[in-house]
């Protein structure tokens, strides 16, 4: 595309100016209709959820069908446990593979790893659920928190790998050199200087991965499965906040809908706060005289 071909008819100035204004207006309109659903979801969830967001919601078990009240204490605890299991898989694999890509980026393998990381982040989460089902549910012959946590862990990996890689690449080469020049070995330099300098950025990446995992529903449907009772052993089916929201959302009871909105509000709040933190931390990073 050359510049002159756009201007093949420069005489028609008036029409071009009108086109210009119209197209720019359309772009503004596009932005508005993109933001609208967000605001709508935000306010609607707040409006419908806050009223059910009481102490009971965080401390009580679900009530049987037909009874009003109750809460999602077991689902919240379950989500925390599932995420904990996931983090034990996602954090080490994510950070160490991120280190590999960033610090040993000369190698052909690291190009492959980088590519696969991008591809893995696009694998539908329900597929990861099937994988966890085959690897853990089938051999154990029952749904379990372990299977759910495993699935969440896999889903956390690409986010953490990517952020680790990007944050490590932001660490100036001069710091690596400074440390090596003091007679510090390469691996100690990587861990104690490079990783430490990038640590706040990496922590935000982990937070981001956790916030995403907290909202994942599909991979838990047939791994963790859900549970109406208090349940903390990881080889048993376990409740999770998004599973509970799903179950309540498609139920016919108004009270359950209200509780589901409350759960949705908690999730959105989490996402919002985490993203805000990420924004603030990554913006202030490595400015100044590095």
């Amino acid at each position: 595309m050359t510049t002159s071909s756009i201007l093949k008819n420069p005489s028609n100035l008036r029409r071009r100016k009108i086109t210009n204004s119209v197209m720019l207006m359309l772009c503004i309109l596009a932005a508005i209709i993109t933001i609208l659903p967000l605001l709508y979801i935000f306010f609607y969830t707040t409006q419908s959820g806050v009223s059910s967001l009481n102490i009971d919601f965080f401390t009580q078990l679900p009530k049987p069908v037909g009874e009003e009240g109750g809460g999602m204490a077991n689902a919240i605890a379950g989500s925390a446990i599932l995420i904990g299991i996931g983090a034990m898989i996602g954090i080490p694999v994510g950070i160490l593979s991120g280190i590999y890509i960033s610090e040993y980026s000369k190698s052909f393998i690291s190009t492959i790893v980088k590519f696969i990381t991008d591809v893995l982040s696009g694998v539908p989460s329900i597929i990861v659920g099937i994988f966890a089902y085959g690897i853990i549910v089938i051999p154990m012959q029952r749904f379990s928190a372990l299977a759910g946590g495993f699935a969440l862990g896999i889903l956390m990996i690409p986010t953490i790998t990517k952020i680790t890689e990007e944050m490590l690449k932001l660490v100036p080469q001069s710091l690596r050199e400074a440390s090596l020049a003091l007679g510090v070995s390469r691996w100690k330099t990587t861990l104690k200087i490079v990783l430490k300098t990038a640590s706040s950025g990496i922590v935000t990446g982990v937070l981001l991965a956790i916030a995403r995992a907290a909202g994942e529903t599909a991979p838990l449907l047939f791994t963790s499965f859900g549970n109406s009772f208090w349940q903390t052993s990881i080889d048993e089916p376990m409740a999770a906040l998004p599973l509970q929201i799903f179950a309540y959302a498609i139920s016919p009871y108004d009270d359950w809908h209200r509780q589901a909105w409350a759960g949705a509000f908690v999730l959105i709040f989490l996402v919002f706060v985490v993203n805000l933190i990420v924004r603030i931390v990554t913006r202030n990073k490595f400015s100044g005289n590095l």
């Binding site: 510049t3 393998i109 990587t190």
Partner: protein
């Protein structure tokens, strides 16, 4: 001059700690790669029963009958393809508009907060989109959008017939909302990679702002295509939101108002309750197809995106 003529090479010995550490990180990197391979192998093996019983016919059969144990994926493939492509069709112009808005129109001081909001849009869990879809968006489609389309475009077969609210069209619009942040953010990235000098040259020749932007967009087209393909991949794999609003009826109908079913949705709905092993195996085969398609689509998207942003 050849480097090898220059005498003995000085190569410092690596310390054991460095070798160990490099290999540990390599091991974990390989775990990541191995996972993807392992997922593929596992699904391939676990779908063997379905694959040997139905063969390639699985893809072309509309039959889905757990009682008679007859399985075919066509209706789900149809639902997935139509909803995703429609979502992309709706989302693409909007996404480009948003990208242009954020990179060219809006004042710097507001840019960060607006792009932050759009990032949040990408981070909202899909279960919440589905929930909102059932209670707010589908009723809105039923009461307003679909009657409007029926009235003015009813001569088209897509906008005919019974109006339910939930259905293929509603799922597509929700998907479009969900993938817009992805496509617009990639479009912004590739626009950034287009050299400013081109823009300045256009202005110097008297181009209007839009004409300069259009030129940049055209130059960035393979990157935008990459972003679109990435968004398409996301839409194809999207599960909860679609499951909650698509209607979950295994059928192929002309009208977009009709309920349909997607590959991810049928897995979500039937997997935990599937009784027969051939039923599970068929669901896993659908998963395998889904995995294969998203894998190829994502690879393609990355190659397209790298090709633009690398040049910069």
């Amino acid at each position: 001059m050849d480097a090898l003529d220059s005498g003995k090479e000085i190569k410092s010995k690596k310390k054991a700690g460095d070798i160990i550490f490099e290999n540990i990180t390599l091991l974990f990197a390989l775990i990541l790669v191995g996972l993807v391979v392992f997922i593929a192998i596992e699904m391939f093996l676990d779908s063997s029963q379905s694959r040997s019983k139905f063969g390639f016919g699985f893809i072309f059969s509309q039959n889905w009958d757990p009682v008679k144990e007859e399985f075919g994926a066509l209706t789900f493939i149809y639902g997935t393809i139509v909803s995703s492509l429609l979502a992309l069709l709706i989302s693409l112009p909007v996404s480009i508009g948003v990208a242009v808005f954020l990179s060219e129109i809006i004042h710097k001081s507001l840019r960060t907060s607006i792009s932050f909001l759009i990032e949040i849009l990408a981070a909202i869990p899909s279960i919440i989109y589905g929930f909102w879809g059932i209670f707010v968006f589908a009723p809105f489609m039923r009461s307003t959008v679909q009657p409007f389309l029926n009235t003015y475009f009813g001569f088209l077969p897509f906008f005919k017939g019974q109006i339910y609210g939930t259905g293929l069209l509603t799922a597509s619009v929700i998907l479009a909302i969900m993938i817009t942040p992805i496509i617009s953010s990639i479009t912004r990235d590739v626009l950034k990679a287009i050299p400013v000098s081109q823009r300045e040259a256009a202005y110097a020749l008297g181009a209007t702002k839009w004409e300069a932007i259009k030129m940049a967009l055209l130059n960035a087209r393979s990157g935008i295509l990459g972003g679109s393909v990435l968004g398409l991949g996301r839409a194809i794999g999207e599960t909860m939101a679609v499951t909650m609003v698509i209607g979950n009826k295994a059928q192929i109908k002309e009208s977009l108002f009709e309920p349909a079913y997607s590959m991810a949705s049928v897995i979500a709905n039937e997997f935990a309750e599937a009784s027969g092993s051939i039923h599970i195996s068929s669901l896993i085969e659908i998963g395998l197809i889904l995995f294969g398609v998203t894998f190829i689509i994502n690879s393609l998207a990355r190659v397209l995106i790298y090709s633009v942003t690398r040049k910069a």
